[in-house]
């Protein structure tokens, strides 16, 4: 089943920078198992909780807290209403 939505896609796109090809599966599992919902139902309201889970999980893969925070910051930008409304590429915002 194709569970991609615009928001989900953007979360995966950002995650891909840090986790590579595992990004899609990683995010789908975080959404399903921690938020208890299907990826296609991911909303902006879920992002805060999702980011918390991602932070803990990714922090077990690297001790570089700066990288983790940079990744988290990029995800947090997706919670800004204008980013959702305009569909602006947040990863390029971060430079």
């Amino acid at each position: 089943m194709d569970h991609r939505t615009r928001l989900y896609d953007r979360v995966v796109r950002i995650t891909h920078i840090y986790l590579g090809p595992a990004a899609d599966r990683f995010i789908a599992r975080q959404v399903q198992n921690h938020l208890g919902k299907e990826p296609e139902k991911l909303t902006v309201d879920d992002l805060v909780q999702l980011i918390d889970w991602i932070r803990v999980a990714v922090s077990l893969l690297t001790d570089d807290t700066e990288i983790v925070e940079e990744y988290v910051l990029q995800l947090q930008r997706l919670t800004y209403p204008e980013a959702e409304a305009t569909g602006k590429r947040v990863s390029s915002d971060a430079g």
Binding site: F26, R29, W53, V56, L61
Partner: protein, 371 residues
Amino acid sequence: MPASNENTKKQAVVGSRSAAEERAQSEAIFNSIGDGAIATDEFGKITRINPTALRILGYKEKEIIGKWFPSAVINVDENGVPLSLIDRPITRAFLTGATVSDRAYFQRKNGTRLAVSITVAPIIHNNRPIGAIEVFRDITLELKIDRMKSEFISLASHQLRTPLSAIKTYAHMLADGYMGEILPLQRRSLETIIGATDRMNELISTLLNITRIESGSIAIIPKTTNLVKLTEEVIKGLRHIANDKHIDVKLKYSAPAILKTDSLILKEVLSNLLSNALKYTPEQGSVTIKLTGRNQHLTISVHDTGFGIPKHSQQQIFTKFFRAPNVIKHETSGTGLGLYLVKGLVTRLGGKVWFESEENKGSTFYISLPK
């Protein structure tokens, strides 16, 4: 001071006291539990470690607090090779979102290895994950007992086989008339003896296989296998049972079914499934084996028109020693080990096993294996 302010102040004092009490209580629990426990913050840095964990790992508290968990607490495999980050139970738990309970090895400060059973859980505060806790216990003694149990079963099974082999050989020789003429009644008795030794041999093989699966010592030797040929061999081996019960056995396949697997193990799996189907199907029934391929997997289904599995027993069907009550009525022999073994073997082959069944209509068991 107004009364309401005074009350608020009192409540704050009570509140802070109860929060302090709660902290003290949780600290006391954390420090007194018999299992090792290590807690991390959201960045994987160790925030707390209890005395049991310090004793097991051989560290002092100040040497480990504030360190990044994966580099401070080393997980190794049974050969002492450090596990990759993604293979560690704590990482798997957070990457997959599942609670992980696993066996692993820790490398202690002095470089020695220690077998532990680990459970990992997230620490949740106000509905937010703020870290992780890994709880573990030393299972050195359990592993030693497991090993002794397996060695005992293995030794006992081998020792049982030797006299059985002598019983069977001499029973055959007697039945074949090498030691003089025998009466028909004596022949029937000898055939019963031979049948019983065959069943005993099968039981010993099953016990040995289960021991190997449970101890993880079963070796998988994959080679290119023609599944059609293999299934035909299995059917041939059990044809006499089908003939005795007038059960029609069919093999259906649409294309050559070739896969890379351990053919001996797969043969054992198929023999178990077909023998079950024949055992639990009444006379004049039918058994159909279908081989189908899709993408990277091959599926084998064994369908019978037998007694079926009652709904209330279906969850336990792959459990060790379980036999559904409806088949015990019909067929008294059986150990309840066959399907447990099938599941263990299929899992070792990297496949899956499942079934559909309706009481008094029949069952279909499916195995899916990677090509």
